[in-house]
């Protein structure tokens, strides 16, 4: 599915650009790169990329502005690259329309997994949402309002059901607290993170084998949650 897809890499470090080019080309991507925001902005129009990898720490401006600028005219998936302790930046980028993030330093396996998820979701938005969602041992049937884990039926409250459905729809993708709260409780509840935490804890108890060491419903500390993608081979 990656054959001939164009990836725009906006990254100021030469070594990192070289490495990304090598490993992405090895996986069949066509790589266009840019070292500054201005170059990146131009390349985003001229190269018509299928996906953008954007380092938030660019020398000539705030990467966040580029996310906003791109979102004014394109739905191209954007994966931002950021340092570990910059949770606030990650949240802002995601809420501004970025699709996902990887934390520096990252493994290329992790980056490729995020890229696959982003490309898959970008392709799926135009298609009709599935009635039955399946991720790993989880199966959710919208019509029958039914959830099973490894074939065993699990009883969820309506909120838990909607949370799980939304997470499964976006399997593999990070969802910020704000995004989840807006989707499930509405725009008035975006600050009430504790609602979310409490329901997530309950959901974990129902779908995880060991809620204390979750395998599917992962926490992205300070940012949000992610349902592990089934073909995400990365630990």
């Amino acid at each position: 599915m990656t054959d001939g897809r164009t990836v725009l890499v906006i990254e100021d470090e030469h070594a990192m650009r070289r490495l990304l080019r090598a490993s992405l080309e090895a996986h069949g991507f066509v790589v266009v790169d840019a070292a500054t925001m201005a170059e990146g902005r131009r390349a985003a129009t001229s190269a018509a990329p299928d996906l953008v990898i954007l380092d938030l720490g660019l020398p000539d401006g705030d990467g966040l502005d580029l996310v906003r600028a791109l979102r004014e005219w394109t739905r191209v998936p954007i994966i931002v690259v950021s340092a570990r302790d910059r949770e606030a930046d990650k949240i802002k980028a995601l809420d501004a329309g970025a699709d996902d993030y990887v934390t520096k330093p990252f493994g290329t396996g992790e980056l490729l997994a995020r890229m696959r998820v982003a490309l898959r979701h970008a392709a799926a938005t135009s298609a009709t949402a599935a009635v039955v969602l399946e991720v790993g041992p989880l199966r959710l049937d919208h019509d029958r309002h039914e959830v099973t884990v490894d074939g065993a039926a699990v009883k969820l409250t309506p909120i838990e059901f909607r949370l799980l459905a939304y997470l499964m729809q976006h399997a593999g993708k990070v969802l910020t607290h704000r995004q989840l709260l807006r989707e499930i409780w509405g725009a008035g509840a975006v600050e009430h993170t504790h609602y979310l935490r409490v329901h997530m804890a309950a959901l974990r108890r129902k779908i995880e084998r060991d809620a204390g060491r979750p395998h599917w419903l992962l926490t992205e500390p300070g940012v949000g949650y992610r349902l592990r993608d089934q073909d995400d081979g990365q630990a």
Partner: protein, 376 residues
């Protein structure tokens, strides 16, 4: 110094001025008692120690003492006594000399104090310099070890003579050492940030979620090694990002220096003051006897254990920033027991020990919401 008696709650500066008055008063009293036996010059000399005492409190009090000394000397001893009238012009010279001496003492004392403060600062700087160089030497040593492995393994892997199977193994060690390097740098960074005074951004978070996050982060490092999590439905008021690092470091420590089974347990202690107590337990050799406090010191290492000796120092710094405490103990039956005590400052948004899992109340369209939620 002069009479720092408790019941009088004067500010420290006021004591300086009071000491000036008191010192001159005492000297005058002594002078009055000894008047029949002493000459005027001797009496004038008596006032110098009074000025010196006042000078300890600062330049202002010293000047006040000098003025008071001149006035008291004139009033009590210079004929005609008990008036400010001066018959002999010579005495005005005595006054001038007395005042000048007082002024000189005050100035010298002030300069001395300035030098003492500078010396203290220099000492402080020297000590922080010492700490910095200790940090630098420890860090550069500990950074160099993984770097050496990475360099050696990567150059070997690039060598065409190395068989493909061996290459994969070499690259695996590159990855493992790079991860180790990264964790070390994360700790170092946090330590520096805590020492410059970061304020944790606290939220009430289910402890299970925090422990789960830490375990996910350690997933590849932990492998199949089991961790027993028994924290129930307790919520804790912490900064999610900082506290995750606390848990990661404690879990890592339990496996590095202890032995499985590793257990994480928690309970609420009603106090007062109310606290939440989190325990990390293992069945290893335990904390070295007598080192229960020192294990949290920067660069402390148990024996020849690997690592920079930063993990537990970061734990203590971050827990302290949360207003809590961390302590290490011998575990009855063998092993180590690390205890985190976190203060419960405000009420959680739901009962800490039993979140009610609100019955979908805040939902705008609760009920059979899900089927209608599908997107076109």
């Amino acid at each position: 110094m002069v009479g720092a008696v408790e019941p009088l709650h004067l500010p420290p500066r006021a004591w300086g001025w009071a000491s000036a008055v008191a010192a001159v008063g005492v000297v005058t009293a002594i002078g009055l008692a000894a008047y029949p036996h002493l000459g005027l010059a001797d009496l004038a000399m008596l006032y110098l120690p009074a000025v010196m005492i006042a000078a300890l409190a600062g330049r202002g009090p010293a000047l006040l003492a000098s003025s008071l000394a001149v006035a008291a000397f004139d009033l009590c001893f210079v004929p005609p006594r008990f008036t400010f009238v001066v018959n002999d012009v010579r005495h005005t010279v005595t006054f001038a000399v007395m005042f000048a001496a007082g002024l000189t003492i005050a100035t010298l004392a002030e300069r001395l104090r300035g030098q003492a403060a500078l010396a203290r600062q220099a000492d402080l700087r020297a000590r922080s310099e010492e700490l910095r160089s200790a940090l630098l030497s420890s860090v550069s040593h500990d950074l160099r070890t993984p770097l050496a492995v990475i360099t050696a393994a990567a150059t070997s892997a690039a060598d065409p003579a190395v068989p493909v199977a061996a290459r994969a193994e070499l690259l695996e060690s590159v990855v493992a050492e790079a991860r180790r390097l990264e964790r070390m740098l994360a700790n170092l960074l946090q330590l520096t940030r805590v020492e410059t005074g970061i304020v944790p951004h606290r939220e009430w978070i289910p402890l299970e979620e925090l422990v789960g996050g830490a375990l996910t982060r350690l997933e590849s490092w932990l492998g199949d090694r089991p961790v027993e999590v028994a924290v129930g439905e307790l919520a804790v008021p912490v900064d999610p990002v900082l506290f995750e690092l606390v848990l990661i470091n404690l879990i890592e420590n339990a496996f590095k220096h202890g032995a499985p089974p590793v257990t994480i347990a928690a309970r609420r202690v009603d106090g007062p003051p109310a606290t939440i107590e989190i325990e990390i337990l293992d069945r290893g050799p335990g904390v070295p006897a007598g080192a229960e406090d020192r294990v949290f010191d920067k660069f402390f290492r148990a024996g020849s254990a690997p690592g920079a000796g930063l993990g537990l120092a970061v734990v203590r710094a971050l827990v302290t920033a949360h207003g809590g405490r961390v302590s290490a103990h011998q575990r009855p039956g063998g092993g180590a027991r690390f205890v985190l005590e976190l203060p419960v400052v405000d009420a959680p948004p739901y009962p800490a020990d039993a979140p009610p899992y609100p019955a979908d109340a805040p939902a705008p369209s609760a009920g059979s919401a899900a089927p209608g939620e599908r997107r076109p």
